[in-house]
Symmetry: C2
Subunit: 183 residues, 2 copies
């Protein structure tokens, strides 16, 4: 991994755990074990630029995961596996971190580029799910609504699950979404 | 409003906008226009105690709102009105703030009491919606799943809406939830 990539990955990891506002450039440099001055070499725009790059990386990663799952052709099954991915992630980290894109979505004015990047990531995931539903014969408007519900419900369930230290919120959402997207 | 209540309300307002980790006691004192030392008089436990109180207050407020809406007897209509409440809130604040309980849910170890309080608030809201559904003849297990989906979807849609600077994510979720809870 290049020094730049390591900083981006460290930023995303810290955003997941403590949010964007509470993550300093110093935290990222320490986490990435990078030399102190190097962060401004790679990110002359400072935290705003780094936050944007980390959000884009995370959004692409999740988009690629969704694309792979949806390639199987069954949107309901894809969403069930997607929720299970998050469930395993929560368990592995003992409920200490969530979705880095959601963290960017609620970040303050200082990182408004990252916030906009998060908005585009959500739109891309929604579009991918909607396309798969349309491919199964669902009309476009309904497919967009169902895909919007799926993205929102998974993001919301991650937040409820962290607060409750339980995977149950994700399981409830998975059962409901599978039911909805199968019909 | 008492000095203590003013600090709790200021904390909740700041959590909505910038999150818990990025809100300092100094920020709260300034926002509440309170004397500097008074915060430790009212909250000897410092930020952890204040965050917990603010989350409980917000959770109760939203729970009471939901109770009032559900009293009408139609869970689908109640959820539609609930989503509309959030839509108006986002528009009024130009998408700058979200749900204070969700902010507490993703807050770090330092405020783990507030996180647990958020978890109980989500559970209470879910229970209220589930009870209303059971009152309409839905079996308990399904009602709990549908209520869990509703809470998660509204919380998630608030995050997506902030990132996209648009009320559309909430509208999509409202249409789908109304459809689901009406049948």
């Amino acid at each position: 991994m290049s020094a730049r990539d390591a900083m981006v990955a460290s930023a995303a990891a810290l955003f997941r755990e403590r949010g964007v506002a509470a993550t300093s450039l110093r935290d990222v440099v320490e986490h990435a074990k990078a030399p102190r001055g190097s962060i401004y070499h790679h990110f002359p725009g400072g935290k705003a630029e780094l936050a944007s790059a980390a959000t884009a990386m995370a959004g692409d990663f999740i988009g690629q995961l969704l694309a792979d799952l949806l390639e199987g052709g069954d949107p309901a099954h894809a969403i069930a596996t997607f929720v299970d991915y998050w469930k395993q992630s929560l368990i592995r980290q003992d409920f200490a971190d969530g979705c880095p894109v959601a963290a960017a979505a609620v970040s303050p004015e200082e990182t408004d580029d990252a916030r906009a990047t998060a908005g585009r990531s959500f739109a891309r995931w929604q579009g991918q799910i909607a396309d798969a539903l349309v491919g199964r014969g669902v009309r476009a408007g309904l497919a967009a609504d169902q895909a919007g519900l799926a993205v929102a419900a998974v993001e919301g369930a991650l937040i409820v699950a962290r607060a409750q230290h339980s995977t149950e919120p994700l399981e409830r959402v998975a059962r409901q979404l599978v039911r909805l997207l199968s019909t």
